[in-house]
């Protein structure tokens, strides 16, 4: 791996549009989608081993920064990608829900690892059996814990979502309904 020279690609695909000499016209939603895609700001909510793997994702080997997520936000302010890495106990559930509700739209959620996705091996009285019990989740990353590559794959899935979904996702009745089903408004 170290023999490979790093390749810097400056030719990311442009959104569909009309092009001519000196101008390029496209839909505003495509431009905003692209902008959102490359400026995700993660909020790591790390409680256990998956959190350590997430930290490895940030280190120079894997370098999550190259996805536009340069800096992590340890506050809901301005953050738009909640990454729940690790076991969430029932007692911690309301805290996580509060963090989620404090984030401004648009926002996406990644459940990293078996515990965040389904409670994992902890079928016990104290562990929340998946964070989708309390907040809606966009991408589930499998693994116990997942490798940094898998977390990056999850981030790329979110990027695909931001790029393609309606920029006014919040206004969709389905979305309203989804949030209402979680008792969030």
């Amino acid at each position: 791996m170290s023999d490979n020279k790093p390749v810097i690609r400056m030719d990311a695909e442009a959104p569909e549009g009309f092009e001519g000499e000196g101008f390029f016209a496209t839909k505003l939603s495509s431009v905003i989608g692209m902008a959102r895609k490359f400026s995700l700001w993660p909020l790591p909510f790390a409680t256990s081993c998956c959190g350590i793997e997430f930290m490895a994702t940030l280190n120079p080997t894997f370098d999550a920064s190259r996805f536009g997520m340069e800096r992590n936000s340890f506050s809901p302010r301005q953050a738009d990608m909640l990454m729940v890495c690790g076991t969430i106990s029932k007692k911690l559930g309301p805290v996580l829900k509060q963090v989620y509700t404090q984030m401004a739209e648009p926002k996406w959620v990644i459940a990293v690892g078996a515990c965040a996705s389904s409670g994992g091996i902890f079928d016990s009285y104290s562990v929340l059996q998946g964070i989708d019990r309390i907040i809606p989740v966009d991408v589930y990353v499998p693994g116990c814990p997942p490798r940094p590559e898998q977390i990056i794959e999850g981030v790329m899935q979110v990027q695909a979502l931001c790029e393609s979904e309606s920029i006014r996702r919040r206004d969709l009745p389905e979305y309203q309904q989804l949030l209402a089903s979680y008792d969030i408004n």
Binding site: K90, K91, G93, S118, G119, D123, Y125, Q129, G130
Partner: protein, 164 residues
């Protein structure tokens, strides 16, 4: 201080209170009548035995023995001679209430709250008997073996995948 010496001292002082005694792994263990447990612990603390450190309070649940279904276990320690002793007291499920040790040992406060949280045992005289570790609206006492361990509402967890 030897087990025999302490046992002798306690049985002489409280002949009615000690229901049985044993020394598993050379660890003096007494079963004390529920009504007298505080009296005994107070004596151990203040007498010349000087067993004056409360290491732990915890509960236990034996669903198969209804007359001794719920237990509270006290571990005590004499710091000077490094002597340890264990006191057990049992009660029925309906009558799961025992005297609080908070006025003898301040450290009993959290231990009793924890025991209440997990076993539903009430401590008479405890200043603030609330759930401490679990969430307030959990709705049950987890260590009473009365509910399915698994979250039965989750349908995507297949038992045969986990070798159960």
């Amino acid at each position: 201080m030897t087990n025999e010496f302490v046992l002798e001292a306690i049985t002489r002082e409280f002949p009615e209170s000690v229901l049985s005694h044993d020394t598993p792994y050379d660890f003096l263990t007494l079963e004390i009548k529920k009504e007298d447990i505080k009296k005994v612990i107070h004596h151990l603390k203040d007498s010349s035995l000087q067993i004056n450190f409360l290491t732990d309070i915890c509960g236990i649940h034996y669903p198969e023995t209804p007359e001794k279904e719920i237990g509270v276990i006290y571990h005590l320690h004499n710091m000077m001679t490094n002597f340890r002793i264990r006191l057990k007291t049992f009660m029925t499920r309906e009558n799961a209430e025992v005297d609080s040790m908070t006025d003898l040992y301040a450290g009993a406060n959290w231990m009793e709250r924890e025991t209440f949280d997990f076993y539903g045992i009430k401590f008479k005289g405890h200043p603030d008997l609330r759930v401490i570790l679990n969430m307030e609206d959990l709705g049950y006492h987890p260590m009473l073996k009365e509910y399915r361990l698994e979250d039965g509402t989750r349908t995507d967890k297949d038992d045969k995948m986990f070798g159960r």
